[in-house]
């Protein structure tokens, strides 16, 4: 197997710290492989319990103006709190010993996008969403991640399933509320089989019926044992449902069975493999790469660790398939931290900066998440923003040794003549570092 240290660090990781390439050079592919052998521990219930308790306290106020004021105050508090939390999370990720796992976590969190943009009620649950629904499963079964995601309060609120009521259910017959198709549509279109895979509006409605009653325990008493997910049987639409030709009955277990079936469909394998290959291999992923990853997914019953290993195999066996990938803003910031240390980011400004870049976590404009092609991120305006950010970042960095030596320590033999020439010919160490941060070496991975 032959993967260069540079590909292991930059393409599959979050960049290189000075000297990391030499350390990696002994066995780059093995370093990646070993990361996929970990079993991610489940997260504790702390973040979710706190979110539920906070939401319940604010949402439970009877008086409407007072309730709205309390919710606004809560959201503002969370936004301020999350600024510091995000600094810590970004720095920890950037300096992680398992950067490939961080990348996979980011990838799957984007695949299952939840966003507080226009939906501030998602905010309290955002931290728990990645910790509880994504991270524990990035090396587990896709079906388990899918079920954890679709039952997480952040997703149930974001795509409105928390409000969906089966027309034939007890609650539906008594009250004037009805079916909401939003989550069911995105499960098919974005989470599993993918758009254009042949499902119909009928399938959307049937899946929406099947997951009626999947909701959030806000308004109930929260105790140390409260489950974060509630199946409200009185909202569940009774009767048989047919989704992509498979028949399902009533109840929570049938909904979970449907998600399990969707996870194992060949269209899902193809859809997920294409996205994963687009993220790591090429903007337009070659069919050979996609086929290899999809096959391993299918053969392993949707095992995401095996899928990640298949990706490493593609890079090792078919390096000719790798096309340059452009670093997205959050990856660029993380690579700067990994290379130059955490001083390079300004306290409580990492999140506002990413909002400016249009790449803040949990702030995507649609459930499709952030796009993944060069053209989505390398617009003239985006390139200028990155230069502007780098001007300020370079001022914060501590420079040890000459900038040229630093460039060599981060990029090794891959350091391009253009980057080397620009860095060596800068008019000041600050300008040299600015140039290094926006150099083609740093922008492409």
């Amino acid at each position: 197997m032959a993967i260069s240290a540079s590909i292991a660090a930059h393409r599959f990781g979050l960049g290189a710290y000075p000297g990391e390439l030499q350390a990696l050079a002994i066995d780059p592919a093995g370093t990646l492989w070993r990361q996929t052998q970990f079993r991610m521990p489940p997260a504790g219930p702390t973040a979710l319990r706190r979110a539920l308790a906070e939401m319940r306290k604010a949402a439970g106020i009877q008086d409407k103006p007072a309730r709205q004021a309390a919710l606004r105050a809560l959201f503002k508090d969370i936004r301020l709190r999350s600024r510091s939390q995000f600094d810590a999370a970004l720095i920890a990720a950037a300096q992680s010993a398992m950067p490939f796992i961080e990348r996979l976590t980011w990838f799957w969190a984007n695949h299952f996008t939840v966003s507080a943009k226009g939906k501030p009620r998602v905010l309290p649950f955002a931290e728990s969403f990645v910790a509880d629904a994504i991270r524990p499963h990035v090396l587990g079964r896709f079906a388990d991640m899918l079920i954890a995601v679709e039952q997480h309060p952040a997703m149930l609120i974001y795509l409105d399933n928390a409000l969906s009521v089966g027309p034939g259910s007890r609650a539906g017959r008594n009250r004037k509320r009805g079916l909401n198709e939003n989550l069911a549509r995105e499960i098919l279109e974005l989470h599993t089989v993918g758009v254009g895979s042949g499902y119909s509006q009928r399938d959307v409605i049937e899946l929406a019926r099947l997951i009626t009653g999947w909701t959030v325990p806000i308004g109930r008493k929260i105790s140390a044992t409260t489950a974060p997910f509630v199946f409200a049987a009185n909202r569940h639409d009774p009767g048989p449902k047919t989704i992509l030709g498979a028949r399902y009955g009533d109840g929570l277990a049938e909904g979970e069975r449907a998600l399990n079936d969707l996870a194992l469909r060949p269209e899902t394998a193809q859809f997920l493999a294409t996205k994963l290959a687009r993220h790591f291999v090429a903007d337009d992923p070659p069919a050979a790469a996609v086929a290899h990853i999809a096959r391993r997914y299918t053969e392993s019953g949707g095992d995401l660790a095996q899928m990640a290993q298949a990706l490493i195999e593609v890079a090792a066996d078919r390096p000719d398939l790798l096309a340059p990938k452009y670093r997205q803003p959050m990856d660029h910031m993380a690579a700067a931290v990994r290379a130059f240390g955490s001083e390079i980011v300004k306290a409580r400004q990492t999140l506002p900066s990413l909002i400016q870049f249009g790449h803040a976590p949990l702030m995507a404009g649609s459930p499709a998440g952030y796009p993944d092609r060069t053209s989505d991120w390398a617009s003239p305006d985006a390139v200028m923003r990155r230069l502007e950010w780098s001007i300020f970042a370079a001022k914060r960095a501590r420079i040890v040794g000459t900038p040229e030596a630093l460039a060599e320590a981060i990029f090794g033999a891959e350091l391009s003549p253009e980057t080397r020439f620009a860095v060596a010919g800068a008019e000041s160490p600050h300008q040299a570092l600015t140039l290094l941060l926006v150099s083609p070496n740093f922008m492409w991975r």
């Binding site: 004037k176 009805g178 549509r185 404009g365 053209s375 985006a382």
Partner: protein, 396 residues
């Protein structure tokens, strides 16, 4: 009482476009702004057909009543009460409403439908360039600074061979020439970064010249969060310059109102208020150039005619579009109204679309920007010869 009316007279091939206008002279002082409302604007909330006999019953708890401040238009239509600025423009003949309109698709996927609205053909992801970029190529020749996209990343509508500057409102940072020269040299061999940086530097220079002493552009002014209006004001600043761009694109989001969209007030009212203010900001920002300007605001599809269980609306089909500007032959509603009875609704649930978005856009591009019929039918909207432009929406 609303009647089924047809305004869809077609432009004769030689009637709408003035023979003898050469490509090099276009677009002259004429300006065009396209506002893409992402997420599917509820056309029945924006432009409620109060006169439709089925409207109140079908809309149910989301139905707007005349006594809720609805702003009357012609033929039984009204504007949402939050759209006061737009209504003033309508009354003075500077705003026209198209209704029951959609891009040429039958999908309820945002991403497919936006792609079709942007790529200008009938199949999603069939092209990597957008209709407005192709229109730029058709009218602009080699002029590189004709187009401007005010957006976080370059929208597909504006992608393509014609050069387009990209910009979003923010503080202007000083970039020393000693740095920009070195960056340019470092990027010289990079096929992506070199052109992007060259264009970015041009736009940066333009913005620096426009910025106030504190370097601030856009941002929040006043109490309301007028995101789209702020961006619209910024676009108008650029377009007002005699040597500035002539064609701009803006985007607004948050229109995917699946829950609690409100009736006369609430979330939908805030969104529509922002859009309405955007038209006024453009008029104020352009000054006299407003009289040579057309603004089209359009969305990928409409929403279900009936409310869903969460007092929102789900993905539908036909919606409304707004055409504003001093060059618009406004003060009317253009629609081949399909009606709202269950039989008339698309699949029994959505307002039917009876007008192809391309017909509207071809009408504007042809009559206002003088794009030739041949270019419109074959290049801007490929294989659209059978889609006749809507006639008489531009003051001749």
């Amino acid at each position: 009482m609303l009647t089924r009316r047809s305004f869809l007279a077609t432009a004769a091939a030689s009637g709408a476009t003035i023979p003898g206008v050469t490509l090099a002279s276009a677009p002259g002082e004429r300006r065009f702004i396209f506002i893409l409302l992402r997420g599917a604007m509820d056309g029945l909330a924006a432009v409620p057909p109060l006169g439709d006999p089925d409207y109140a019953a079908v809309r149910g708890r989301l139905a707007l009543r005349a006594d809720m401040g609805a702003l009357p238009l012609h033929d039984g239509f009204a504007l949402h009460p939050a759209m006061t600025e737009a209504h003033r423009l309508y009354q003075s003949g500077e705003l026209l409403v198209a209704h029951a309109i959609a891009p040429p698709h039958r999908t309820r996927s945002h991403f497919d439908a936006q792609n079709i609205l942007e790529n200008g053909v009938t199949r999603a992801f069939a092209r990597d360039d957008g209709w407005l970029n192709r229109a730029l190529s058709a009218i602009g020749g080699d002029r590189a600074d004709l187009g401007l996209a005010i957006a976080e990343s370059e929208p597909l509508t504006m992608r393509g061979p014609a050069k387009v500057a990209g910009w979003a409102p923010r503080r202007v940072v000083l970039i020393p020439e000693t740095l920009s020269e070195r960056v340019s040299a470092m990027y010289a061999a990079d096929p992506v970064l070199a052109p992007a940086f060259a264009e970015g530097l041009d736009a940066h220079a333009l913005a620096s010249a426009n910025a106030g002493s504190d370097g601030r552009m856009g941002g929040a002014r006043g109490g309301r969060a007028l995101v789209l209006a702020e961006n619209a004001g910024l676009a108008a600043e650029f377009l007002a310059r005699s040597d500035g761009p002539r064609i701009a694109m803006l985007e607004g989001g948050q229109w995917d109102t699946h829950a609690g969209q409100g009736v006369a007030s609430g979330r939908m009212a805030r969104l529509l208020g922002d859009l309405s203010a955007a038209f006024e900001r453009i008029k104020n920002g352009l000054g006299p150039a407003w009289w040579q300007t057309v603004v089209v605001a359009a969305t990928e599809f409409g929403r279900t005619a009936r409310p869903n269980g969460a007092l929102g609306t789900d993905h539908g089909y036909g919606s409304a579009a707004f055409i504003a500007g001093g060059a618009v032959n406004g003060g009317k509603v253009v629609a081949d109204w399909p009606g709202m009875s269950t039989g008339a609704l698309y699949e029994g649930r959505d307002l039917m679309a009876t007008m192809d978005m391309r017909a509207l856009l071809k009408g504007v591009l042809g009559d206002h920007l003088r794009v030739s019929k041949q270019a419109l039918d074959a290049r801007v909207f490929p294989a659209s010869g059978s889609v006749r432009p809507i006639f008489d929406i531009i003051r001749q």
